[in-house]
């Protein structure tokens, strides 16, 4: 007991010391999870299925961002306006790649199955196949080792919060994440596209009777979700580098975030992402880094078993 108490108090001491810096890192991760998670939730809303290939949308954004950074930066060390420009270009290119892959995915792996009213099992298998195909194709074309992305800035602490340094990289993620998630929220809440998405999510049959073009709405939903996923891929790659398997773990966690917030619920996915990012980051103090992934998975199982509707409850229509 004494030894264990000592162990705990030791860890809590570290915890107090590191809390804010871990917190900041967790929020940054959380934004990335949130940006991926909304893709799961949007597609779930309109198709009632989990897009298993979303991880590859994320991966494609990472690679697209990598290549454009490599082409634009070369050996220079950008700063100031050039940095802002490069980051925006990276996000746009990553997002475009993500949207493109998402569209292809919808056309090839989902639409033919939708045409013949296939059972859900077929969609899952088809998506898993597409995911495998895509990341292994990327592995073949771009090599199977991790490579770091040319940096559009020199990473440095921008400001301090409760003594914890906030790196420029995190600031980029915060700004990009807030802007994109807010924009998405508004799009879904106010635009005609958003109304169609919500209508299809609530009741596809009625929506189609009311004149909503289901095929178009589903395609656009993939594009919107894909764009955010791709952008997140670029931002993730900026910090961690890119490799053909980079999508797997972040996507699994983002899926956990989507379930945590209530799958189909847009704001739920954002909140779930932030929550998961922070919890995961803080748990570094208590478990070895190698087991961090186990924590996210444990949360996933616990949520599915005890509160399958998540924190905010399911359904896209209700959220926004």
């Amino acid at each position: 007991m004494g030894a264990f108490g000592h162990y705990l108090s030791g860890h809590f001491a570290t915890f107090r010391l590191e809390f804010w810096s871990l917190f900041v890192g967790g929020v940054a991760n959380g934004f990335l999870y949130g940006m991926i998670a909304v893709g799961y939730t949007l597609v779930y809303g309109v198709l009632r299925l989990i897009n298993f290939a979303h991880s590859e949308i994320f991966m494609s954004g990472g690679f697209a961002g990598y290549f454009v950074m490599k082409a634009l930066i070369g050996n220079s060390v950008p700063s100031g306006a050039a940095t802002v420009f490069l980051i925006i270009v990276g996000i746009v290119v990553g997002g475009t790649a993500g949207a493109l892959v998402a569209t292809l995915l919808e056309r090839v792996a989902y639409r033919p199955l939708r045409r013949r009213n296939a059972p859900k099992l077929a969609y899952l298998i088809s998506a898993i196949g597409a995911s495998y195909f895509l990341f292994n194709l990327a592995g073949k074309e771009f090599g199977r080792y991790s490579i770091s992305m040319p940096q559009p800035y020199i990473n440095h602490p921008v400001f301090h919060i409760f003594g914890a340094a906030v790196q420029l990289y995190y600031v980029v993620i915060f700004i990009a994440g807030v802007v994109m998630l807010f924009a998405l929220d508004r799009v879904v809440a106010t635009t005609k596209l958003g109304r169609s998405i919500r209508a299809v999510a609530q009741d596809a049959e009625t929506a189609s009777l009311m004149g909503v073009n289901i095929d178009r709405t589903i395609a656009l939903t993939f594009i919107v979700g894909g764009a955010l996923g791709g952008a997140a891929g670029f931002l993730f790659g900026l910090g961690t580098g890119v490799v053909y398997t980079m999508g797997f773990v972040p996507a699994l966690k983002a899926f956990t975030a989507a379930v945590l917030g209530g799958i189909g619920n847009l704001r739920g996915a954002m909140i779930g992402g932030l929550l998961l990012g922070v919890v995961e980051s803080l748990s570094v103090v208590f478990v070895q880094a190698a087991y961090i992934d186990v924590i996210a998975f444990g949360i996933l199982v616990a949520v599915l078993l005890f509160r399958p509707t998540g924190i905010l409850g399911e359904r896209l229509g209700r959220a926004a």
């Binding site: 792996a109 009213n117 296939a118 899952l124 298998i125 078993l305």
Partner: protein, 447 residues
């Protein structure tokens, strides 16, 4: 312009062209991050001779192939709708030729004789180890996963975890792990068979009992995560599993039963026969199971869980049962692999292998024991062949790319597999016609 683009012939040709050029990319040389265009350039613009007929750039070769595909496709469509006739055939009762009993039994007999003589027929060291490690083990794994995916309709993406647990259990009780073994180890791997099967079955029940209540897509993710966790633990618990370096050596089994004496060694062929014996046992057991009340209950649950409950079937119980049976098959395969390869490594139990096994089941035909065995043999032979004589530009990891593409193609064109199970095929046809409640089983769209 719009109407021009919507022209069905143009569309069809466009699709053929894109698909064939994608094949060009898939079969082309690899690239790398430093030379990202190398793969593309090599795939499309490298000179290639088309059976010595003409020498030209690859993309032209594949354009020519696209024309052929387009022609076949167009011709096929004018032939009348092939799909319609096959679907209505699935709903009529008369049995197909392979379903007729005498034909089937003699076919099986021939297959068994071929299997027995195979190491003689193909007398080659590479193929001997391939038919054991790649074909035999994977046919067994596919047969086990077929119980879970095919019979019970549960998508298990972490199947390889049970395979790993079986292998590590063998290492454990033979005293080959860093962690102390029970009864000071030194058990024969034969002892590991029942122990591993029981341990894996318990693991299957422990994972299954809480998670099998979940909807199908959630179950897939949870099992996927479970598979990852087992790998993470195997990689990091150095004191117990030996970590990423693996653990060994695991002794070979020794048989001393009555007049039978045999000592297995590193040679693969004796393991091939060991696998064959157990494979036959498993196949018979599963085929009886399929046509027993348990098999019928699985079908009932798969098709309409609500109706199944209304006749007193406890879905959870049957799902856990399928899960445990599938798991224990994988556990057994783990025992054989561990003792044959002498070692256990976490890297043999990745998500890739789980998907690989899933492809074997889907390709052969979910729920069709015969189909799964044939499908698994075809894919694993192809895999071994590519390993043995790789074509130019092929890397062994490319296989997963082909398998992924195969999964998508199967789902689009032949969801019930190469040799479909009749029940499954009917379900696919019926769900197309809007009948049946299969989806509710998966998504649990209950109020």
């Amino acid at each position: 312009m719009q109407t021009f683009l919507r022209n069905p012939h143009l569309r069809r040709f466009g699709i053929s062209f894109l698909v064939m050029e994608l094949v060009a990319l898939m079969t082309g040389p690899p690239g790398s991050t430093q030379t990202p265009t190398a793969g593309f350039r090599g795939s499309f613009f490298e000179a290639s001779s088309f059976y010595g007929l003409f020498r030209t750039q690859r993309w032209v070769v594949f354009l020519a192939l696209a024309v052929v595909v387009f022609a076949i496709w167009s011709g096929w469509l004018t032939q009348g709708s092939v799909i319609r006739t096959t679907t209505s055939k699935a709903l009529t009762y008369p049995r197909a030729v392979t379903q007729r009993k005498p034909v089937r039994w003699s076919l099986l007999g021939v297959a068994l004789i071929v299997a027995l003589l195979l190491p003689r027929i193909v007398d080659d060291a590479f193929w001997h180890s391939a038919m054991t490690e790649q074909i035999g083990v994977f046919v067994l794994l596919a047969t086990g996963l077929n119980v879970v995916v095919g019979f019970a309709g549960l998508l298990d993406l972490g199947y390889v975890a049970f395979y790993a647990i079986g292998a590590y259990t063998t290492a454990w009780i033979t005293g080959s792990l860093p962690t102390p073994a029970p009864f000071h180890g030194h058990f024969d791997p034969f002892v590991a068979i029942p122990v591993a099967i029981v341990i894996v079955m318990v693991a299957g029940i422990l994972l299954g009992a809480p998670t099998l209540r979940l909807r199908g897509d959630y179950l897939a993710i949870v099992t996927l995560g479970f598979g990852e966790i087992v790998t993470i633990f195997a990689n990091n618990l150095y004191g117990i599993t030996g970590g990423s370096q693996g653990s060994g050596p695991i002794p070979h089994p020794v048989l001393h039963v009555g007049p039978l004496h045999y000592v297995w060694s590193l040679k693969p062929v004796p393991y091939y026969y060991l696998l064959l014996v157990f494979l036959v046992i498993f196949l018979i057991a599963f085929s009886l199971l399929e046509h027993s009340r348990i098999g019928r209950a699985w079908t009932a649950i798969r098709e309409d869980e609500v109706a199944a409950e209304s006749v007193g079937i406890n879905p959870l119980k049957y799902k856990v049962m399928a899960f445990a049976i599938g798991a224990s098959t994988a556990g057994f395969a783990g025992v054989v692999t561990a003792s044959q390869s002498n070692n256990v490594f976490p890297s043999s139990f990745t998500l890739q292998s789980s998907i690989n096994i899933l492809v074997l089941v889907i390709f052969g035909g979910m729920g069709s024991i015969f189909g799964v065995v044939v499908g698994a043999i075809i894919i694993q032979v192809a895999y071994s062949y590519l390993l043995h004589t790789p074509p130019q530009g092929y890397q062994s990891a490319d296989l997963y790319m082909y398998l992924g593409a195969l999964l998508v193609l199967m789902m689009i064109f032949r969801p019930s597999g190469l040799i479909p199970s009749r029940r499954r095929q009917r379900e696919m046809v019926l769900s197309k016609a809007g009948e049946g409640h299969m989806d509710e089983v998966l998504t649990g769209d209950t109020p």
